[in-house]
């Protein structure tokens, strides 16, 4: 994984951790806050309901007291005393304009004698109203409410007062039915869902409470007032806050990731440049320089790298110059050696002939005839040496063309000659399509075979094989000679270096140059038989570029 990616992920992790910790904490705090708010709203609703009930009690108490002293009430009460039954709904006139929905005149036995709102009960004892005592504060009792669709029991806040004008015990009971309208008003006042219920009472419900609810109960004696505050509005606010929190978190995370990306990029850019520079240096581009970037240790590292490549360039150039000088020294030495060897016999033969001529030695003719071919042979030897160096110097650029290395080698071996004492063994590999110069490849194979033959003056076996290794095509020539010592293997490819008694030392050097011209190498190795193994490694045609592991 790239450093930049690692750094980005590290920054992302660093940004996520605080968010992962802070968002749940903040969410929990918000939940707790809103839960308290919901409870406070429920308490407030209950307080409002109690306040409304208190107001209603005062209103009922005042209205009933006023009705008890109303002349119309006194007239009905007096009529009752005379034995003439008043109209069942005679109290209706008293109730007009007053905030009452229960108003009944009852006798000493508690029997309803006239009622403003339930005249149909006249003549009976209303069980609910019987519980209302004179002089006591208004209480909630069940009363009958008559409707066309039936009679319902509803809670009513009622108070009782004596009618003073009457001699007999005549009592006025009045009150307010806590009906659907009152429940709806209470629901509107408190913003809660209000339920009013009790044993046998027709339930009244108003308002809504959506979501989670918090309830409060207000006992009313014969009824129970239940207020439920819903969390819908609070939930919406809480959800908005949470959304805002998450949006802020997401924005922070995004900014952190962007910042991390930028920082990682700033940090890794010099490192990546250094990496590219190292790769360039590894590929041989010793003049590679990394642009001065970054700061601190990275900048020091870049500078150090640039100084290192600069020093390495200098050292490499010096080494190359030394190697070239050494190579030229070898060539000169070899050339001198190769030229000196024929010159000495030539000089000695010419001096012998000159001495015989000067002395008029009668063997002059015989000596001449004997020495002239030897001298010509030495001259020829000189010419071959010079041709060899000339070919090495004038090696042209390879003309690459597609060919199958295995088929081509098989054909080339068919025309190659070998001494009878040397056995040639051919081990063909799979078809190996390559791009190669046929002439240079033939020169190379010739040089390798001759090198093998020369290494086995008393005969032996030369094995030629082709094989594939990854993206490379290999051509190996293995002999059963004495082999090449390990310490000499790197040097035998240099011009003028040879381990044999005779030879120009240019054969393998020329082969190495041909291999280079084909994008490959010539490798010197040891054979399992103890002999030498020379290996040509060139890229296969289907392989675009040499892969890792190439020598």
């Amino acid at each position: 994984m790239r450093l930049r990616t690692l750094l980005f992920l590290a920054f992302a992790l660093l940004a996520l951790v605080p968010l992962a910790v802070s968002v749940p904490l903040a969410s929990r705090r918000i939940e707790e806050t809103f839960a308290r708010e919901l409870g406070a709203r429920a308490d407030s609703a209950a307080a409002l309901a109690n306040s409304e009930l208190e107001r209603l009690r005062a209103e009922v108490e005042q209205a009933v007291a006023a009705c008890a002293t109303d002349p119309a009430t006194e007239a009905v009460a007096l009529q009752l005393e005379t034995g003439v039954p008043p109209a069942a709904d005679a109290m209706r006139a008293v109730a007009e304009g007053r905030p009452l929905s229960v108003l009944t005149l009852r006798d000493a036995a508690g029997v309803s004698r006239s009622s403003a709102f339930l005249p149909a009960r006249v003549g009976d004892v209303e069980p609910g109203l019987a519980a209302v005592r004179v002089g006591e504060p208004p209480v909630v009792v069940p009363v009958e409410v008559q409707r066309p669709d039936g009679v319902q029991l509803r809670p009513a806040l009622a108070a009782a007062r004596s009618v003073e004008a009457a001699h007999a015990s005549v009592t006025l009971v009045g009150g307010r039915v806590l009906d659907d309208a009152w429940v709806a008003r209470l629901a509107g006042l408190t913003g809660a869902r209000v339920e009013l219920e009790g044993p046998g009472l027709a339930p009244a419900v108003a308002g809504t409470a959506e979501g989670r609810t918090v309830q409060r109960q207000v006992p009313l004696g014969a009824a129970l007032l239940r207020l439920a505050v819903g969390s819908a509005a609070v939930d919406e606010t809480r959800a908005t806050l949470l959304r805002a929190l998450l949006a802020a978190g997401a924005l922070g995370l995004g900014l952190a990731l962007l910042g991390g990306l930028l920082v990682a990029r700033a940090i890794t850019r010099p490192v990546e440049a250094l990496t590219a520079g190292v790769r360039s240096v590894a590929a041989g581009a010793l003049d590679t320089r990394v642009p001065a970037a970054g700061a601190g240790e990275v900048r020091v590292l870049v500078d150090a790298f640039n100084r290192m490549t600069e020093d390495l360039g200098h050292a490499t150039r010096a080494l190359r110059a030394a190697e070239q000088a050494a190579a030229w020294e070898g060539v000169a030495r070899s050339l001198a050696h190769e030229l000196r060897n024929p010159l000495t016999p030539l000089q000695m033969s010419l001096e012998t002939l000159l001495a015989a001529r000067s002395a008029r030695d009668p063997r002059f003719e015989a000596l001449f005839v004997e020495s002239a071919p030897a001298m010509l042979e030495e001259v020829e030897r000189l010419r071959r040496t010079i041709d060899a160096f000339a070919r090495f110097a004038r090696l042209p650029a390879a003309q690459l063309e597609p060919l199958d290395l295995t088929s081509w080698t098989e054909q080339a071996l068919g025309v190659a000659g070998a001494r009878p004492s040397v056995a040639l063994r051919w081990e063909p590999g799979p078809p190996l399509p390559v791009r190669a110069d046929r002439d240079q490849l033939a020169q190379l194979l010739h040089n390798l075979l001759r090198n093998a033959e020369e290494a086995m003056p008393s005969g032996g076996r030369v094995t030629v094989r082709t094989r594939a290794e990854g993206s490379w095509a290999l051509l190996e020539v293995e002999d059963t000679g004495p082999g090449i010592a390990s310490e000499d293997r790197a040097r035998v490819l240099e011009p003028g270096i040879t381990t044999k008694a005779s030879g120009t030392g240019l054969g393998l050097a020329l082969g190495a140059r041909i291999a280079q011209g084909h994008g490959g190498t010539l490798e010197v190795d040891g054979a399992t038989t103890g002999g030498a193994l020379l290996r040509l490694r060139i890229p296969r045609a289907e392989a675009a570029t040499p892969g890792p592991g190439s020598p």
Binding site: A87, P119, A120, V122, D124, E144, Q146, P148, G150, V151
Partner: protein, 444 residues
């Protein structure tokens, strides 16, 4: 015993010494509920309606019909009704048998009293339909069985001949002269009334009482009444067969006296039997079984315009609630109640009917309310077979007691005419139904 109906009840003895004078305007005040009774089904409404639409005949104190707009000829198998020649509606249309038949056809559609009165007529509806298409001098009513009281029942206000689809144009002592006004009709068979005109005013109770006390009006309809006057406006609780258990739960809890005292008021009396006390019916209820509780629901129809019915309906609702029955109240107009009940709506209904002042025809009304046609025909035939009026009345009372528990009709209370007259009003008299006849009324 022959029922003696009080037929004269003027505030002061007929001023024989004074001479009746024509002229002046008779001022009548009516409470709102009286004005709501446009068809004259209540006694007060009938009094008001009779100013412009008199009945076919009038019953005297003994229950004998006095021809007014028509005369009767009895044959062996029926009665011929002969409209008085020259009797015309205010629009000029003559009153003939066809007009009478059409008016009674309409009455059959809305009034149980009319249906009960014409029930003895053989296939009354078809007879009237046929008569409405033919011309002649008499409307022949062939009887399905003997019914000596037919002529008397034809005097019922519900059978007053009217004209037009709405049945609003009648033949009375006054001719309509604008809304709630009338002028004396010189062509009225009994002769023109003494006043030149009448004015009907709608007043609240207190205002109407003050108007009467201050003599601003001579007649107040809807308030007061005389204790001695016959109470024939009977109210029954009728029920469907399926609702009989509900009635059974109600009966033990029903205190008719308390019902009348607290919720009906005025000139009303409990009616424990199918016949009112004025017709010899029982005036005390029999032994009541102990109240029981049940369950169920029901729909009670009542006439919304009648305060007494509304109060009684609410009381019944309360009593049935105590018995475990949830009763729904269905207020209706009078016409709608009759129509809906006959169409099968409702489980219970309060039916108020002005009964004929004769026991047998009154029992026929209760039988008509009971809807059981076969029983009604059988009972009427048995009663009609008795030619002696006293014997017939006695048998009617006897059968009323016997049928009380069998008929789906629970008698509740009976009311008299709620009306008060200016003491200075002379020659106002009551007919056999206990209704004031104001045609001859005058004041010095």
């Amino acid at each position: 015993m022959l029922v003696l109906l009080v037929a004269t009840g003027t505030p002061r003895p007929a001023g024989a010494a004074a001479r009746a004078r024509d002229g002046g305007t008779l001022r009548v005040a009516a409470l709102p509920e009286v004005r709501a009774d446009r068809t004259g089904e209540t006694p007060e409404g009938a009094v008001a309606a009779a100013l412009l639409a008199a009945p076919l005949c009038r019953l005297d104190a003994l229950g004998h019909p006095e021809p007014l707009l028509a005369t009767f000829q009895r044959s062996s198998d029926g009665v011929s009704v002969l409209p008085r020649p020259g009797t015309r509606f205010p629009s000029g249309a003559p009153l003939g048998p066809a007009e009478l038949a059409r008016a009674w056809s309409r009455a059959l559609e809305r009034s149980p009293a009319a249906r009960a009165a014409l029930a003895p007529v053989h296939d009354a509806a078809a007879t009237l339909e046929q008569a409405a298409r033919t011309r002649g001098t008499a409307l022949v009513l062939q009887l399905a069985h003997p019914w000596p009281d037919l002529e008397a029942t034809l005097c019922h206000p519900a059978l007053a001949p009217t004209l037009g689809d709405g049945g609003t144009e009648g033949i009375g002592p006054y001719l309509p002269d604008g809304s709630d006004r009338g002028r004396a009709s010189p062509g009225f068979p009994e002769g023109r009334p003494h006043p030149d005109a009448f004015v009907l005013s709608s007043l609240a109770r207190r205002a109407a009482q003050r108007a009467l006390e201050s003599r601003s009006v001579q007649v107040l309809l809807g308030d007061g009444g005389e204790a001695g006057s016959p109470a024939l406006f009977a109210t029954y609780l009728v029920s469907r067969p399926a609702a009989r258990p509900v009635v059974a739960l109600l009966a033990p809890r029903l205190d008719r006296a308390a019902l009348v005292r607290s919720f009906v008021g005025g000139q009303a009396a409990p009616m424990p039997g199918l016949l009112p006390p004025a017709l010899g019916g029982p005036d005390r209820p029999g032994a009541r079984p102990p109240p029981a509780r049940g369950a169920g629901t029901g729909l009670l129809l009542y006439v919304a315009d009648r305060p007494a019915q509304r109060a009684v309906a609410e009381r019944l609702q309360i009593l049935l609630r105590d018995a475990g029955v949830q009763l729904t109240l269905g207020p209706r107009s009078a016409d709608a109640l009759d129509r809906d009940w006959r169409a099968g709506q409702g489980d219970l209904a309060l039916r108020s009917v002005l009964l004929p002042p004769l026991p047998a025809p009154a029992l026929a009304v209760a039988l008509e309310l009971g809807v059981d046609v076969a029983t009604a025909d059988r009972e009427r035939a048995a009663l009609g077979a008795l030619s002696d009026p006293a014997e017939r009345a006695a048998r009617a009372r006897e059968r009323a007691l016997q049928l009380a528990s069998a008929l789906p009709v629970l008698p509740l209370y009976v009311e008299g005419l709620r009306a008060r007259l200016d003491p200075g009003l002379i020659d106002a008299r009551r007919d056999g139904f206990g209704l004031w006849v104001l045609d001859d009324a005058w004041w010095p």
